[in-house]
């Protein structure tokens, strides 16, 4: 019995003292990518153990504050309240360091039967705030628009609200769906539906080309247009870290993620790699 306890204690101690343990927690948007990175990195660096979990950007920041995670994945920028909480516990009152790790182009989905091909950013905003209620107001068929949105816990929701709706509220009648896949599913089944989400998740829905202003040309969301910034609706995805921990294995892992080697996995999961000029530094 005593022997068993000793062995148990020794294993627990060994596990906790294991040099290269990295925990990653946060955004569900980034979860698949983070897992892919972790798996690939661990096969070539066998001394490092990386455990990845999701829950949401907010959960990730909460874990960063309680120092139960090393890295926090986020699909949105850190909020001032979260920054202050981190500063209160981090060594030397420092703020978490922000790393941009990927690009995400957000596309607007409509039903494949919809005759509409393009919209301006302002028109998209007006549709989602409920100011435009019928497709004929934007040159489509005479039918009421059904708006599908994400849950307000989603980083995508927040980004869309700030940058496309210009901070205005979504229409109260907007159906909130639990994920991008659910939005695509709903839009494909509803011929008057409109939704938004990652460009790679469009499935059998139709992706609209977007005009930055009413007079500018309509741009379809592709890797090229998102990466060179001509497609107007895109965002960064982030990883946050306590600056005191940003050394050794963790720093090496972060550098690898942002290197050409790490960035080549980004496209596999539907996001876009960082442009070359963003890959080093912050």
């Amino acid at each position: 019995m005593k022997k068993l306890i000793t062995i148990l204690a020794a294993t627990v101690f060994a596990a906790s003292a294991f040099a290269g343990n990295i925990t990653v927690k946060g955004s569900d948007t980034l979860l698949i990518l983070a897992q892919k990175w972790a798996e690939t990195y661990m096969t070539s660096n066998t001394t490092v153990k990386i455990s990845v979990s999701g829950g949401g950007s907010g959960i990730g920041f909460a874990a960063l504050q309680s120092q139960t995670t090393d890295l926090c994945d986020a699909s949105r920028k850190i909020k001032p309240a979260e920054q202050m909480k981190c500063a209160a516990v981090f060594e030397g009152g420092k703020r978490p360091t922000e790393y941009k790790v990927a690009l995400d182009g957000l596309s607007v989905y409509v039903n494949p039967e919809n005759s509409l091909k393009e919209l301006s950013v302002a028109q998209v905003g007006d549709i989602f705030t409920g100011k435009i209620k019928n497709w004929k107001e934007v040159g489509g068929p005479d039918a009421p628009i059904t708006v599908y949105s994400r849950e307000n816990s989603s980083g995508t929701y927040e980004f869309f609200k700030e940058h496309v709706l210009k901070g205005k509220d979504f229409a109260a009648s907007a159906q909130t769906m639990p994920g991008t896949a659910a939005i695509v599913q709903a839009v494909v089944k509803d011929k008057n539906g409109i939704g938004y989400g990652g460009a790679a998740y469009g499935g059998s829905s139709k992706l609209l080309a977007i005009k930055k202003t009413d007079t500018s040309p309509a741009i379809a969301p592709t890797e090229e247009t998102v990466m060179n910034g001509t497609y107007p609706i895109w965002r960064h995805l982030f990883v946050y870290v306590d600056p005191a921990k940003d050394k050794g294995d963790i720093a090496a892992y972060l550098t690898w993620i942002r290197s050409d080697d790490g960035q080549k996995y980004v496209k596999d999961v539907g996001y876009y790699p960082l442009p070359k000029n963003l890959r080093s530094g912050n």
Binding site: G92, E151, N152, S153, A172, A174, Q175, T176
Partner: protein, 396 residues
């Protein structure tokens, strides 16, 4: 063995009031205490959960949260000119933290505050809503005319520059979906209970009863998924309403989750009506149907009512089905409009709410409301069942 005349006086009152007839063996004594502690821990758990929820929600009840977007920033250089209480409120920290944190950290926090104020877009800086603390009770329950809206409205939009936390659409949405679910489930479940307990042949009963109770074994995610993909489409093609995912679909799906709860309690109540009632009615020439409908059902009515109340408790707390099928926080009593229930809101938004922030606290407040609602409905259900049992057994 001669009986001990002093047996009664030697009967010991064990620890924590448990009576024992004779001296227990140590093993038994231990097992007894262990079981007692386990049962106690369940009660303790409920109490702890309630305390936790209440603690997280209290600042909302006392109006200690502030969501005003534009606040007058305190320049970090003037930190010393302000009192400790002012700084605590400004930085949202406890007196303990204020005392312990080094000056440089406090300064960083003050800097972050100032930067946050500078980052507010120009449009919002001049918005009259930006100086409102939206967590005050009048904004939580009364309509308000927000900028960009034509008239005073109940708005739940907790994420964004100006956070709107009106809980009325959520309460209406919860009640709407729950009532639709009960309107669908109660007649079906009670009907099935009458049939199974009074009319069905024993062979049929043996198949039907477990089959209906098996419904409760279907995970609500599966029911929700079925409703999302199949029921929504079928019902839309029948009723031709505009919103494909609405409270009606959610209510029907919810009904499936509630039917087994109502069925098993109602069936229990109906079978516990004394056989003498049935026999007397049949002897007087009543048909089996008349007996079931006019004798047994009225006698078991309190039990059936309790079943419905417990079903209500189950329905109002159900999360996944409503989350998957409909969740637009629109304030409307129309069954063909969407709705958003309290459980959905908590499940969907808790993950991203800034821990300890106003949104987080209000979600906990909603949780406390829900806890109170299910607690009261379960209490009523339990109370009625006990009254009913006592009445049938002739006790008062």
């Amino acid at each position: 063995m001669t009986p001990n005349p002093n047996n009664e006086s030697r009967r010991s009152h064990g620890w924590m009031g448990i009576h024992r007839g004779h001296k227990a063996r140590p093993g038994e004594w231990l097992a007894e205490k262990f079981i007692f502690l386990v049962s106690l821990s369940a009660i303790l758990m409920v109490l702890l959960i309630f305390l936790f929820v209440a603690r997280e929600a209290l600042p909302v009840f006392f109006g200690q949260t502030n969501t005003a977007l534009v606040q007058k920033p305190i320049p970090p250089d003037e930190m010393d000119k302000h009192s400790a209480a002012e700084l605590e409120a400004y930085l949202e920290i406890t007196p303990d933290q204020l005392a312990k944190l080094p000056k440089s950290t406090l300064r960083t926090m003050m800097d972050i505050k100032v930067e946050a104020q500078n980052d507010i877009p120009e449009d919002f800086r001049n918005d009259p809503d930006a100086s409102i603390n939206t967590t005050e009770w009048k904004y939580l329950i009364a309509p308000h005319k927000w900028t960009d809206y034509d008239k005073p409205e109940y708005i739940w939009q907790p994420v964004g520059q100006i956070k709107k936390f009106n809980i009325i659409p959520l309460i209406v949405g919860t009640l709407k979906v729950t009532l639709i679910g009960l309107l669908f489930a109660v007649p079906l479940a009670v009907g099935a209970a009458i049939y199974v307990s009074q009319l069905a042949r024993p062979r049929v009963r043996e198949i039907l009863k477990p089959a209906i109770e098996l419904l409760s074994g279907i995970p609500s995610v599966v029911v929700g998924f079925f409703a999302l993909l199949v029921m929504a489409t079928v019902l839309q093609s029948i009723f031709h309403y505009q919103t494909r995912l609405n409270a009606f679909v959610a209510g029907l799906a919810l009904g499936f989750a509630v039917i087994p709860v109502i069925f098993s309690i109602a069936e229990d109540a109906l079978t516990s009506v004394p056989r003498a009632y049935t026999q007397a009615a049949l002897a007087l020439g009543a048909s089996r149907w008349q007996t079931a409908w006019q004798i047994v059902l009225p006698a078991a009515l309190p039990g059936v009512f309790a079943a419905a109340v417990l079903g209500f408790g189950r329905a109002i707390g159900e999360t996944m089905i409503v989350l998957m099928v409909c969740s637009a926080s629109v304030l409307s009593w129309s069954v063909f409009d969407s709705a958003r229930s309290i459980t959905t809101t908590i499940a969907a938004e808790m993950a991203e709410a800034v821990s300890g922030g106003p949104h987080y606290r209000i979600l906990f407040m909603l949780g406390a409301l829900l806890f109170a609602a299910t607690f009261v409905s379960n209490m009523i259900g339990d109370f009625v069942i006990h009254r009913f049992k006592n009445k049938l057994e002739g006790k008062r």
